[in-house]
Symmetry: C2
Subunit: 186 residues, 2 copies
DNA sequence: AGGCACATGTAAAAGGTTACATGATTGG
DNA sequence: CCAATCATGTAACCTTTTACATGTGCCT
């Protein structure tokens, strides 16, 4: 019962607020998440396993005008599991970036394609940056960062959002400078 | 025959210089690569498939005092495949960062563990940054960046190294500031 | 004598992606 | 009426990770 990486990402998300599979699918969407992504199918499957293992509990919420949903919350066993996970050495970061593979492998005839892909990435990163910044504003809720950090409880998510902002800013800067350099060659 | 993402990363690496599986294993090492990592086992398997599909060619290099090795080079078919890949829209970046999962999910009793993991990451990123910077110096080989960009052929690898440098610098800055913030809480 | 670098593999288990499937309600 | 959002799933396939396996030569 080692490995099982997605389960910890799910527990980390559920520890702050209960959620349905559908809710989690929005959080783990590749276009939104700054540190882990997963498809809805993966989430539904893993939520079943987690509740089979007693780490989360489901309750059915009846809804009118919408399909009913199962809302999950972390159990005591789940809290213990998460605590044990946080105490371990994390496995090294995994990145797979096809755009960087393309830049590495590009030949003289590929400059135009790569420029188009860089431009698309630039736009996507700008959108993601806005999402993160809106999430930060919502978390701060008028307070200064100092006030928030000294009193807030959701400090972990906030710190991760800061990382995401820095990452997207860097991506944007790199795309711009790379586009400029490639413009000279075509 | 879609998907197959690792093959393009291998072709991108082999297009610049022929290499054995063992050579590639060093390039794709998680502690070294800035955009894609793979284990030796993955590489040996995929090299077999690539040569089965005629995208790379192997020649055996006899060595004294060392085991013989198979050195691979890209064929014309491989060059075509790589060209087609570069022209497609890349699939979105995938990141999985357990450290950020830990930061997201940490509770009041987890601050000490997370600090230890952040400190380890900080050291690892400093080492990686040095590796990238040495690789950049080797690529420039005394020339200024402008000179290099206007004349060099391996421009793609250079641009990706720049991205890696920026990424590790950001990681280092974030680890430092997060360590400071958590220090106030323990 | 012991450990690291060189050099390559097999097999099983775990994790992730893609295609298919269903069905209600809301907004334009 | 059509598209999007809400809400959940099954099955097949592909990719990645981990454990195990082997053997030489160099350096201390």
């Amino acid at each position: 019962m080692a490995g099982m990486a997605l389960r910890h990402a799910i527990l980390s998300a559920l520890i702050h607020r209960d959620a349905s599979g559908y809710d989690l699918a929005k959080v783990f969407d590749a276009a939104v998440s700054s540190y882990w992504s997963a498809t809805p199918q993966q989430l539904y499957r893993e939520l079943d396993r987690l509740s089979g293992d007693g780490l989360v509990e489901a309750r059915v919420v009846q809804q009118e005008r919408r399909p009913n949903k199962r809302v999950y919350s972390v159990t005591d066993a789940g809290r213990n599991e998460l605590h044990a996970f946080v105490a371990r050495a994390p496995r090294p970061l995994a990145i797979r970036d096809e755009l960087l593979v393309q830049v590495t492998g590009m030949g003289p005839g590929d400059v135009e394609s790569v420029r188009a892909n860089l431009a698309a990435k630039l736009e996507a990163s700008e959108a993601k940056l806005e999402i993160y910044q809106r999430a930060i504003d919502r978390a701060l809720d008028g307070r200064s960062e100092e006030e928030f950090l000294d009193s807030g409880e959701l400090i972990g998510s906030y710190l991760v959002l800061q990382r995401g902002v820095a990452y997207e800013r860097e991506t944007i800067a790199w795309c711009r400078s790379t586009l400029k350099i490639l413009a000279r060659r075509s």
